[in-house]
């Protein structure tokens, strides 16, 4: 088959697939169970320790998914670290921009704190808050801080594992006292979730910022990380 014929074939096949998919999804939606998990989630929400149903799903009902997801983030940043030292970064910003950065970064950190706090009741939560922190890091790096405000080696390492570590610590502690892994005892869910979320926010922020910096943290003797 020639290149052009192959392209035509793929295009037609995908177009057909799109049609079939739409038909099938319509069938599923029209004949499907309508309610799905929404009523169950609403019914369980008061017992979840948080008011925002999405946060309840993420940190209580399906907390295990979130734990693995933080591990995915960790795996990505470990892979990035393994790929050698980062680029040198950008030239220091000019005065006007630097002034802006001086305002923007604290604002983003504040926003992160707010999102984290409000996430229990309203839209927001660890991911959004962590992303704000990371955004602060991105701004810093763009303005010429090569490490994007991240701490040096060892502390940076502690930060990126903090989310998973908090999850595991809470989960295993609960298991040890007889509640089952990640099964929050009644009445304690709220602060346990907040603890995990705080650690997760820091971890997400640090991890995403580190991913943006894109190289191993500067620890150990110079050049050691260069394979």
């Amino acid at each position: 088959m020639t290149g052009a014929a192959l392209r035509a074939f793929v295009t037609i096949a995908i177009a057909l697939a799109a049609g079939v998919l739409w038909w099938v999804f319509s069938l599923a939606l029209l004949e499907g169970p309508g309610e799905r998990l929404a009523p169950l989630a609403a019914e369980a929400l008061p017992r979840s320790g948080v008011g925002n149903p999405v946060t309840a799903v993420l940190l209580n009902f399906r907390a295990y998914d979130t734990l693995l997801e933080l591990a995915v983030l960790l795996a990505a940043v470990l892979g990035i670290w393994a790929s050698g030292p980062p680029d040198r970064g950008f030239a220091p910003a000019e005065i006007v921009l630097a002034g802006l950065v001086d305002w923007l970064v604290p604002l983003l950190i504040l926003a992160a704190g707010y999102l984290l706090w409000v996430g229990g009741q309203a839209p927001g939560g660890a991911f959004q808050a962590g992303a704000m922190l990371a955004a602060a890091g991105v701004v810093l790096r763009l303005a010429g801080t090569p490490r994007a405000g991240l701490p040096r080696g060892d502390w940076q390492r502690v930060l990126v594992v903090a989310g998973v570590a908090a999850f595991l610590a809470v989960g295993l502690a609960l298991m040890a006292i007889g509640h089952g892994f990640l099964t929050y005892p009644p009445g304690h869910a709220k602060w346990l979730i907040l603890t995990i979320e705080t650690a997760a926010t820091l971890a997400i922020g640090a991890t995403l910022a580190a991913a943006y910096v894109g190289g191993s943290p500067p620890d150990g003797p110079p050049g050691e990380d260069r394979a």
């Binding site: 999804f25 998914d65 790929s83």
Partner: protein, 93 residues
């Protein structure tokens, strides 16, 4: 229901567009963008089927799944770009 159907269709179209682009382009960045568009398509399908009209509270489970999915997607993108950068360096040496 019509809203859900509409946005599901949009999601599926995004998925297929992304798939087409993924198969047709060679450069890494193109493929990554295509994958992200495909991912957005799937997320759109999830959020569309969570939608229960302007009055009803949406199903929070798909929202949570999509949030997870978004973080996974950005992780993968970041890793791919880091590998790509290192490949450039290796090819230059």
């Amino acid at each position: 229901m019509i809203t859900a159907l509409l946005y599901t269709a949009a999601g599926l179209l995004l998925f297929c567009l992304g798939l087409w682009s993924f198969l047709m382009h060679r450069p890494l960045l193109r493929k990554l963008i295509a994958l992200n568009v495909m991912g957005s398509g799937v997320f759109l399908v999830f959020v569309a089927l969570a939608y229960r009209g302007p009055e009803g509270a949406p199903d929070p489970v798909p929202h949570a799944l999509v949030l997870t999915g978004i973080v996974v997607a950005v992780s993968a993108t970041a890793l791919a770009l880091a590998l790509g950068r290192r490949l450039e360096e290796a090819e230059r040496d």
